[in-house]
Amino acid sequence: MLKGVNISFSYDKKSASENILNDVSFEINVGDFIGIIGTSGSGKTTLIKHFNGLLRASSGELYLNDKNVYDKNFDLFKLRKEVGLVFQYPENQLFKKTVIEDTMFGPINLGMSEEEARTVAERELKFVGIDEVLFTANPMELSGGQKRSVAIAGVLAMSPKIIVLDEPAAGLDFYTKSRIFDLLKRIITIKKMAVVFVSHNMEDVANYANQVWIMKQGTLISKESVQTTFSRDDIIDLAGMDVPEVTKLTKDLISAGIPLKSISTTVDEAEKNLSEVFKKNRGH
């Protein structure tokens, strides 16, 4: 659906040595749940700003459904409609007087009538789990998790095919965070979209993503499944990242001679694998 080929970016077009992105190539398709990790300053946010044309690559190409986005005749409007971006702390960007008006803002800008926009906004607010009684509330009165859901509804109201979120769980407690990630899962399964998120939390990535991209100094150094990513110590180390605690545990147990088939990346998986080998061992 969205495809980048050798994308490089520099704020100063003359000097390639100051590149913030270097030859990044990628593909995002329906059903993808992609977690992007990397240290601060590795280029994660710069990369996602290319997805909907907020930044334009200094060199390289971007294709939306096989159409070259950087072509003179391409209408960037199409890209902005297909790819919705949710920034860090999106609740700071809610600005209308009521929840429903805030959610209608995007679709109205896309040229919908007030009536159509209201129908769409109501539908998406319900989808993200905002109770009808809150539609006319002031966004500032909502809890942190509700505000973030409203911000997501505002993007969904423009019916994108890809939603990209920068640190969607930052500052949220455990419970609120799991609700936001469950919402993202539903966006993929029910709306048949793709979700891409940037995260500093390896456990969130392991629990929810089905693909992990690792950024290091402007280069996309790995695009693998969660399992493969976290079993590659060399790459994780190079990127200055960590593995989830249970992954570290299962690695250490394997080195200590306990015959686990593979490393685990989530608590559920670790529980299952450990129970199996210990049951066999204790059965003897």
């Binding site: 949220l172 990242m241 989830p244 608590v267």
Partner: protein, 282 residues
């Protein structure tokens, strides 16, 4: 050292220019914090933990009850300077706390404001920058530092002022995993080597397993406290107040319930590896 008695904090909510209502953020909370203690305060969003932090150096004043730092009442204005000298604060976003044009200058800011002699300032600043492991960057501009490095500079600044108590309100929530563990490491070093009292407010539960004591907050009240082994032996309470349970502790509980003879709780990865390999070899 810090004595909180029956503290109540009410925020005023302005619905419009005339109409107002009150929201109780802290609801009759009492707590003593001992000198040299590493105390962690855990709670979900809206539990009142950040409001409590702001009472510890008189950024907020009690609606009811008292907060005393070394017997100095925070509600008496005459005590303000002394209290703020004793209690340093570090907040979530390092970008909002750094003002110097290079690391040295930033760390020196508090001391300069106190009119300390310049050779003392130089010596003290170098010492503090060294303690947080930033000596290689003393002339570097803060804009060239990563989030974790900036946060270490903010800690050095609070430390340089000779604060005896440091209150940190979610200091790692914007940092990548390595920077997070570096910061927690620096805090433990300040605590054990310099005897500094550390009060760490967080919802990253894995940062608190090495604290001396944990306080659990919910709806403005303390709902549990104790050593990490005491607090993590009752996971039901943590779940009830929506606090995340560290992966290792959760896994330890599940394996124990399925019949493996593990301790309750297993606090860290090392311990779980040791206990599991012990069971395996039997």
């Amino acid at each position: 050292m810090i004595r909180i008695e029956e503290l109540v904090h009410k925020y005023t909510i302005w619905n419009d220019q005339k109409e107002q209502s009150k929201k109780i953020a802290i609801d009759g909370l009492s707590l003593n914090i001992k000198q040299g203690e590493f105390l962690a305060i855990l709670g979900s969003n809206g539990s009142g933990k950040s409001t409590l932090a702001k009472h510890l150096n008189a950024l907020l004043l009690p609606s009811e009850g008292t907060v005393k730092v070394d017997d100095l009442d925070t509600s008496k204005e005459d005590n303000l300077t002394e209290i703020r000298n004793k209690v340093g604060m570090v907040f979530q976003n390092p970008d909002n706390q750094i003002i110097g044009t290079n690391v040295e200058e930033d760390v020196a800011f508090g001391l300069e404001n106190k009119n300390m002699p310049s050779d003392y300032i130089q010596k003290r600043v170098a010492e503090c920058i060294n303690t947080v492991g930033m000596s290689d960057f003393s002339k570097t501009s803060p804009t060239r530092l990563s989030g974790g490095q900036k946060q270490r500079v903010a800690i050095a600044g609070a430390f340089a002022d000779d604060s005896q108590i440091m209150v940190l309100d979610e200091p790692t929530s914007m940092l990548d995993p390595r920077s997070r563990s570096e910061i927690i490491g620096v805090l433990h070093k300040l605590n054990t080597e310099n005897g500094m009292t550390i009060i760490l407010i967080t919802h990253n539960t894995d940062e608190v397993v090495a604290a001396d004591r944990i306080v659990l907050m919910n709806n403005g009240k303390i709902v549990g406290k104790g050593s990490p082994s005491e607090v993590f032996a009752n996971l039901e309470l943590l779940r009830e107040i929506h606090v995340e349970i560290p992966q290792i502790i959760e896994l330890g509980e599940r394996l124990r319930k399925s019949g493996l003879p593990l301790s309750n709780p297993v606090l860290n990865e090392r311990q779980l590896v040791n206990e599991l390999t012990g069971i395996w070899e039997e």
